[in-house]
């Protein structure tokens, strides 16, 4: 990022922010160089942004499969490692196995979903980051990465579109 410059434009509402994004795209800022930071979830569609890629559902499925396999191991493999007869039941009865399979599948799925959020969002991340605390008060911020020469131009455009402030983003400890 040595040659790139980060700008943080703060808007008070969705509409000017959406306008600003459209304008920025016209100015040649690629969608990949923009990021919207908000205090409440604002969908991509509202801002006219491309859909975000997320791995969470895939990870969940993977976790479910892993959990199911663990369940299979517990229900069908472990009783054969040291066979013990109880109450005249088979060593690996199916109905109780269903319960084990279900619980382990769900556990695998939910843990991997949770872990998926961490992986996809690079959590936890305590390095300095571009941020202003007003965002959590309801402001919407657009973080733009652009070559330094374009910075002034973009700043002007954004101010004209109603940005409350546009400044060079400084990475700070949150």
């Amino acid at each position: 990022m040595a040659e790139e410059k980060a700008l943080l434009a703060v808007f008070s509402d969705i509409d000017p922010a959406a306008d600003a994004i459209e304008q920025l795209r016209i100015l040649g800022v690629h969608d990949d160089c923009m990021n919207v930071i908000s205090g409440i979830p604002v969908t991509e569609a509202m801002l006219g942004r491309p859909s975000q890629w997320t791995n969470v559902p895939r990870l969940a499925l993977g976790g479910a499969i892993a959990g199911f396999l663990v369940g299979l191991f517990l229900a069908f493999i472990t009783p054969n490692m040291y066979t013990i007869m109880v109450g005249g039941q088979p060593f690996t009865p199916v109905p109780p196995a269903v319960i084990v399979l279900f619980e382990m599948t769900m556990l695998g799925m939910l843990i991997s979903t949770f872990v998926g959020v961490f992986l996809d969002s690079l959590f936890p991340n305590y390095r300095p980051m571009h941020y202003v605390p007003e965002i959590s008060d309801g402001k919407i911020a657009i973080l733009i990465e652009c070559p330094p020469p374009d910075a002034q131009k973009i700043t002007d455009v954004l101010k004209k579109l109603g940005a409350e402030s546009v400044k060079e983003a400084e990475a700070q400890h949150l």
């Binding site: 979830p41 975000q52 319960i99």
Partner: protein
């Protein structure tokens, strides 16, 4: 809130009633929530101190005594081998069901009234499960060996016995505890970030929030992952919740005992759990509303009204399942089951059986049908309390009272609680203590969810009528 005026327009009236139509700037709302956490009177600390002392004595000291001396200091005996330990386990697991019900089922069905109190309910889930865990470990004769129940082998590759309902229980409760804790934490992250942003540097709270907020900023990606994850959780945790209480019921239903060996126990326990859970939610909400600053804005009579309706439905369902269980057992004519039913109703603890029906059915039905009554916080608090008493009675009837009657009349014997009363009080105190601590540390109101909801709500005129409209934002 504004005063009632006869000429107040219908629109104003609606805004007054509904949180979702009564928006407030985000910054202001954040401030209110932060204030609610930080406004702490001496009364709070007095109660907190007393409860801490109670937990230290009733839970930890008494438990220590019981571990050292053996379960003889409790009231368990032959044939009531389980006693109040299992009553409390089932009770706390039941309490924990409300959180999931509110935040998962109501989320899936987009019941908007849920928004301000999902977190309060989810906290109950996690804290309730912690108490359930305590109760079930207390119950063990050799608790120091409880790790033998975990799915890890001994040196001869002998694993736990998955034929046993208790093994299923362990898996289910562990799954549920982990899932519900994760489900509590995920939507908490943005609010922790908010708290982080509003906490001055150099305080320990700042470090606390910084660490827990994980570096959340609210980027598009973060929100997307979070929303996806929350949707998966909301759907997946519902069957987990149902499985937990069903499996708890199977601890009883799988046994070859009169009264327990019933196929309806699964759904009967689940509905019972929701019954007590909802009762506990209104109690918590009423207390939070009454004692914490700014909460009258977030928690309004409309919420009690909505939960009251749910409670009424659940109470009716409980009565349905109860009757189902009862009539099948009664009609069956098995000698021992008949003795058991007779013992329930006419035995020395018969008052409890009738108390259960009054608390779980008669009182809820008598009060909750009336919209005004069910919107009254103190009244619905009492109803919630009685439902919890009634549901505790129900579990007491199922565990020690039913255990009295078995197929060997020579061994029938009454159960008299011993140290487990202290331990039960200890878990209750610990639950309240955890809740009080949480209320000082984490935002009880999911601010971003309330904001999201307020964004989606608007009023629209159809002819002369002004109606609430909700837009699909997600």
């Amino acid at each position: 809130m504004a005063d009632h005026k006869p000429h107040t327009s219908h629109e104003e009236h609606l805004r007054e009633q509904h949180l979702m139509l009564d928006p407030m700037p985000r910054g202001k709302m954040n401030e209110m929530v932060m204030e609610s956490m930080h406004t702490t009177s001496w009364k709070f600390w007095l109660v907190f101190g007393l409860l801490s002392a109670l937990v230290a004595y009733a839970l930890f000291y008494k438990w220590g005594v019981m571990i050292l001396e053996g379960l003889g200091v409790a009231g368990v005996n032959r044939p009531s081998y389980w006693g109040i330990f299992l009553v409390n386990t089932v009770f706390w697991i039941g309490i924990s069901h409300a959180g999931t019900f509110i935040s998962a089922i109501l989320r899936v069905f987009k019941a908007e009234f849920r928004r301000p109190f999902t977190r309060a309910a989810e906290l109950m889930t996690t804290f309730g499960l912690i108490q359930a865990g305590f109760s079930i470990f207390m119950h063990m004769g050799r608790v120091w060996l409880s790790y033998w129940l975990m799915p890890i082998p001994n040196e001869r590759q002998l694993w736990p016995n998955f034929h046993s309902p208790l093994s299923w229980d362990l898996l289910a409760i562990t799954t549920y505890l982990l899932s519900s804790t994760m489900y509590l934490f995920l939507p908490l992250i943005p609010d922790l970030a908010m708290a982080r942003d509003r906490t001055p540097d150099g305080t320990w709270q700042k470090v606390f929030y910084r660490v827990l907020a994980l570096g959340f900023r609210g980027t598009e990606g973060e929100w997307t992952h979070l929303r996806n994850a929350l949707n998966i959780f909301a759907f997946a945790i519902i069957p987990v919740m149902f499985s937990v209480h069903t499996i708890v019921s199977w601890d009883f239903a799988m046994a070859t005992r009169p009264g327990w060996n019933s196929t309806i126990f699964g759904p009967y326990f689940v509905i019972g759990a929701l019954h007590s859970g909802m009762g506990a939610v209104v109690m918590v909400l009423a207390v939070v509303r009454g004692t914490m600053k700014n909460m009258k804005y977030f928690i309004r009579p409309e919420h009690f009204e909505a939960i009251g309706k749910l409670m009424l439905i659940i109470s009716m369902s409980w009565a349905y399942f109860f009757f189902n269980d009862y009539i099948v057992q009664w009609y069956g004519g098995d000698k021992w089951t008949k003795e058991l039913l007779h013992w329930h109703e006419a035995g020395p603890m018969g008052w409890m059986w009738f108390g259960m029906l009054i608390c779980n059915v008669a009182i809820p039905w008598a009060i909750l049908w009336n919209k005004k009554w069910r919107s009254t916080p103190w009244l619905i608090f009492i109803v919630g309390l009685l439902i919890n008493v009634g549901m505790w009675f129900e579990r007491y009837i199922i565990v020690p009272i039913s255990l009295t009657i078995n197929r060997m009349p020579f061994t029938w014997r009454l159960y008299q609680p011993g140290i487990e009363v202290w331990l039960g009080i200890g878990t209750l105190a610990f639950f309240i203590l955890l809740y009080m601590a949480a209320s000082r540390l984490i935002p009880l109101i999911p601010v971003w969810e309330v904001q999201e909801g307020q964004m989606a709500h608007s009023l629209r005129k159809y002819g002369r009528e002004t109606v609430v409209t909700v837009s699909e934002l997600e």
